[in-house]
């Protein structure tokens, strides 16, 4: 038992930003747009830090794959209480085609290298909404997985996970090492306060290249087109019930 937890943190466009699609429909506009840590990753970091505060694990390592700016996201995780960071540098073309499969290969390689006991990830990112990285990482490592966790408790060398499933909750007990993915109700992530951000600057972030981990980043997916969701139609006011019925009839609703 190494007592080491790897937490994946993704740098995404801030949840409050209005997303715009590029004029050529190839991707969304990211230049000059506010970015922050994926909210589900925040929940994952919080859970790892809580485990450490309860002395159930020894070290929390925050990992992010992406360009130079991903280090800011790792800093936020360090400010929340992670011990050190690993920045897997992916930029340019590789970053554009970086998907769940590539990230899970990186996470799996790092988990072996760092002899991690847990990998905790957000269940999905709010930019691509893939919800695949945790599952794929578990598959690549052949580890058990506790996805959509809304409660996690350690029982010796096993871990009990309450999962959010359609129409209710499912409780499972799995062996460690394991991959866990955080759902929205797992915990309340703490705010990265200014003094903690300052302190986090002293913590170490290691720089790793995917090639060092022996990971091939070729993607087999091709993005054909990115489109905005359809505009919501404006409503209208009607004077009488007859008007309403007539309008509904015209629209073929009754």
């Amino acid at each position: 038992m190494s007592g080491r937890v790897l937490v994946g943190v993704k740098r995404v466009i801030d949840y409050a930003v209005k997303i715009r699609v590029k004029p050529d429909n190839s991707a969304v506009v990211t230049d000059g747009v506010k970015h922050s840590m994926n909210p589900f990753c925040e929940i994952a970091v919080e859970e790892a830090v809580k485990l450490k505060e309860k002395k159930l694990v020894k070290e929390v390592v925050a990992v992010s794959c992406g360009p130079q700016q991903s280090q800011e996201t790792i800093r936020t995780a360090l400010a929340m209480g992670a011990d050190r960071g690993i920045h897997v540098e992916v930029s340019g073309k590789d970053y554009e085609s970086l998907g769940p499969l590539q990230v899970s290969k990186i996470m799996a390689a790092l988990a072996k290298k760092e002899e991690a006991q847990f990998i905790i990830l957000g269940k999905q990112a709010i930019d691509d909404d893939c919800n695949q990285t945790g599952q794929m990482t578990a598959a690549l490592l052949d580890w058990p997985q506790g996805t959509f966790a809304s409660e996690v408790s350690l029982e010796g060398d096993k871990v009990m996970v309450v999962r959010e499933i359609d129409g209710g909750l499912e409780t499972i007990r799995i062996n460690t090492p394991a991959v866990l993915t955080a759902d929205l109700r797992l915990n309340t992530p703490r705010y990265a306060t200014l003094p903690n951000i300052m302190k986090a600057k002293k913590k170490k972030i290691a720089n790793v290249k995917p090639a060092d981990l022996g990971v091939d980043l070729t993607s087999r997916l091709e993005v054909l087109r990115v489109e905005e969701p359809p505009q919501r139609q404006a409503g209208m006011k009607v004077e009488t019930v007859e008007d309403l019925v007539a309008k509904l009839r015209d629209a073929g609703k009754v």
């Binding site: 949840y15 409050a16 909210p39 709010i126 929205l184 309340t188 705010y191 003094p195």
Partner: protein
């Protein structure tokens, strides 16, 4: 001017609130103006007990802001991903 032993703590609180205010729903500028006014208003207070009470109040505001930001994010995500 006499250096008040609580000065460092007041400055720290001010910086922290300024940092938190950047995300304020009505904008960082709106928050900063009011923050500055609130601190300036009490600049002549000398009584350590009174200053301590004011710091405690400032820290309470900071916690409230954190809670506000968390709720705003939580609600946005809940609306986006969970139908109820």
């Amino acid at each position: 001017m006499m250096a008040n032993p609580l000065r460092a703590e007041v400055v720290r609180l001010y910086k922290n609130l300024l940092y938190l205010g950047r995300e304020y729903p009505k904008g960082g500028d709106y928050f900063r103006d009011r923050l500055k006014a609130a601190f300036t208003k009490n600049k002549s207070v000398q009584d350590p007990e009174q200053i301590k009470a004011m710091i405690a109040r400032g820290e309470y505001v900071a916690r409230e802001l954190e809670a506000l930001y968390y709720l705003r994010k939580y609600r946005a995500l809940k609306k986006r991903y969970y139908e109820e």
